[in-house]
Symmetry: none
Subunit: 426 residues, 2 copies
DNA sequence: TAATTAGGTCACTAGGTCAA
DNA sequence: TTGACCTAGTGACCTAATTA
């Protein structure tokens, strides 16, 4: 809407926000046509690598489309109607940011370099290995939760405020922070960002990150939470304790289905996870957008490389496009999830949430994660809140709906009410 | 007015009560435009089935419009001006209910499932058959009233209090209760509701139900009450004994006209009747709104199916929209009727109304229908209060206005003053 | 008065059109 | 195929009207 904000795809003069992204008239029309018929593959020698600028944007439709998807264009992201005062304020601030940005650019900070394959290989390999290390490191702690339990439905009728207050005593968000911190250490350029930017990116994108990075396999029917191939909990019970509406759950379910359908390789998974953290649209506070874009560019090259290992050039572009489309869907979906969390928390402002939770869910709070503190706290984390009784029962399948949340969300972010869990078995 | 009450159409943040329904700014504007020009039909594959949520509400205007109508939006439902203390109290209570609601949500009961055609067929067939059974069962009792009689106009000048007291001796609301109870037995899910919710729904929606379910044919001119094709009474006389204002009668007359103009098939009639009972906005006491919504959803599918039998896909959406519009009009109209009943009864608080009547008309009374008692009482109902004299005269047509009430209302709910009836003729 | 809403306004965008 | 331009919405905000 402000012409000083350039097209996110080709950096031409933007003609407003189209399909969720500031874009020029040309790129808007282009993406519109792509939705009717996506551009043919196997024309570009290196899909994803062509530079998209006004003069050359018509040279490679495939790359233009990939860029559209990468910056978050999606048919599910449509905005209509007049802007609210709040949105206008956002826009105004983005313009200011941009000006500061341009000054940085003049200092030759940003270079649109192309990585060598061996560098890419090294990055991806490190990320994959880090994931299995994390798995091993946290297994002992996570394993303690791999105990199926039954939810006491009676507790759903207790006053919400009471249940919320009780639940937070047992949250361990530090575990997640540690995991994501470990990962960012291996994303080239991420630790060079200011502490503030790092924290902000993690904060606003953690749901997306977690959804993709998830350490657990989701059970095939999608009805149960699995960890180490053991059923942990019925999804419907999580939905209720999470206080999520059917609609939000439906959205999550759909995105989870799409994610599962992708059958991500480990390599694709870690790179995509990293990509989620480079999304800056959710925050006004992020300062150094140019550096973040550079990180994004690096990871996109990694993605292209990983996909190229499995697919021939005919299919490679398609696969990349597909991955990025699902990423965009995931963003919209987790926006909803975050929103419904906010609604919940604002509805019960007097609940005694620990500061770490407030900070996590109230996006306008100023405190940020203290990475050093997290690192030092890593040793002292204690996760036991489930006592181990036994009772070989579980909510019946007929009560359940099809959803595939991930264990981490369940364990560290969700509103689990320990009092609701009355029997643990196996 | 309370922003925690979401938009009834798309569940976005509501901006107050518009056209009678809590709705967001967007849906308000949308409905406003629809009143100028309704959305084009035959664009949606399955009118009425699209989910209306903020992100997707612009995907299908037809379904959004149908949803508007289904939740009761109507140009005749406009409310302006400041809220009274009572209305504010209502709103406050609704917010509380909503919170409790979400906690109940839901023993897996609410699933937005789509019914198979054969199941729909079965439901509709059962409902239609039940109606003809009811007709047969109650014919002997109703037939006894199918005697035209003349009203003694002198009695209209007797003190109101006196007339009211006398009249209630002869009311038989039990008959109606039995009829509606029989019907609810065949509405899937209705009998699974708590006894309290069932009673409350019947209580607050009975006028609408009756108006549509009506067992009698209305005389063509609309000037006389008919049962089994025999004139029973002049409408204007009912108006006077009922103490209804010209305005209310005019409203009823208009709605009745609209209803008649629809030329409902038996199938449409029974399904619409069922739908009236799923309306929860009139009561604060209704608890399990989600289950009721599911019932409503089921019946909406039935309606769509019935309409689909007669109309091609081009016209189907239009017909459904039309039916739901009239339903909304009916609601407003019977709101007026109920209000004027309340006014009447509050004006004469010392009249010795039987408990069953108090309970029926004073919506804030706590007693509810006792279904089991009704069932057992069914055998003992005795409807004879009209003695059979004869006199071949009738109120002249010039006194009459165009109104088409239904016999059940006349017989069982209305304020008939037996003393007013001085001559009955063949 | 103050609260509250219908209807108007117009800054916005999806999708269609068509010359280049 | 492209992209400038157009049309039919959309929805945030405003004001006049309505009511307690
Ligand atoms: Zn562009
Ligand atoms: Zn290319
Ligand atoms: Zn809405
Ligand atoms: Zn539709």
């Amino acid at each position: 809407m402000d012409p000083t904000i350039p097209c996110k795809i080709c950096s031409d003069k933007s003609a407003g926000v189209h399909y969720g992204v500031a874009s020029c008239e040309a790129c808007k029309s282009f993406f519109k046509r792509c939705n009717q018929k996506p551009p043919e593959g196997n024309k570009c020698r290196k899909p994803g690598y062509c530079t998209i600028v006004p003069a050359r944007r018509n040279n490679c439709a495939e790359c233009r489309y990939i860029k559209c998807l990468a910056v978050g264009m999606s048919i599910n992201n449509i905005k209509t109607g007049r802007y609210s005062a709040k949105q206008l304020e956002e826009s105004r601030r983005e313009v200011e940011k941009l000006q500061r940005q341009r000054e940085l650019e003049k200092n030759g900070f940003y270079a649109n370099h192309t990585l060598k394959n061996e560098d890419i290989e090294k990055i991806v390999k490190t990320l994959v290995e880090k994931r299995s290390v994390i798995k091993k490191t946290f297994n002992p702690q996570l394993e303690r939760f791999a105990i199926p339990f039954k939810v006491n439905r009676q507790n759903h009728h207790r006053p919400m405020r009471e249940r919320l207050t009780a639940s937070w005593k047992f949250r361990k968000p530090e575990v997640f922070k540690t995991i994501v911190f470990q990962v960012t250490q291996d994303i080239p350029g991420f630790s060079s960002l200011t502490q503030e930017d790092q924290n902000e990116l993690i904060k606003v994108n953690r749901v997306d990150f977690r959804m993709i990075y998830s350490l657990v396999k989701v059970e095939d029917s999608g009805k149960y939470l699995l960890f180490n191939d053991k059923i942990v909990c019925a999804v419907e019970d999580v939905r209720k304790t999470e206080h999520l509406s059917e609609e939000v759950v439906e959205r999550i379910r759909n995105v989870r289905k799409k994610l599962d359908a992708l059958q991500l390789t480990d390599e694709e998974r870690v790179v995509l996870s990293g990509l989620t953290l480079t999304h800056t649209d959710r925050s006004m506070k992020v300062e150094d957008r140019v550096s973040i874009e550079k990180i994004q560019n690096t990871l996109l090259q990694c993605l292209e490389y990983c996909v190229g290992k499995q697919y021939d050039s005919t299919q490679k572009g398609k696969r990349v496009a597909k991955l990025l489309t699902v990423l965009a869907d995931l963003r919209t979906c987790s926006d909803d999830l975050i929103q419904s969390k906010h609604n919940l928390l604002f509805k019960y402002p007097d609940v005694d949430f620990p500061p770490s939770i407030r900070e996590m869910w109230y996006s306008d709070l100023q405190e940020a994660y203290d990475m050093d503190k997290i690192r030092s706290e890593l040793q002292n984390i204690d996760l036991d809140f489930v006592s181990e009784n036994s009772s070989p029962e579980m909510s019946t399948a007929s009560d359940l709906i099809d959803l595939g949340p991930d264990l981490e969300t369940f364990l560290f972010d969700t509103t689990i009410f320990p009092d609701d869990i009355d029997t643990v078995f196996k």
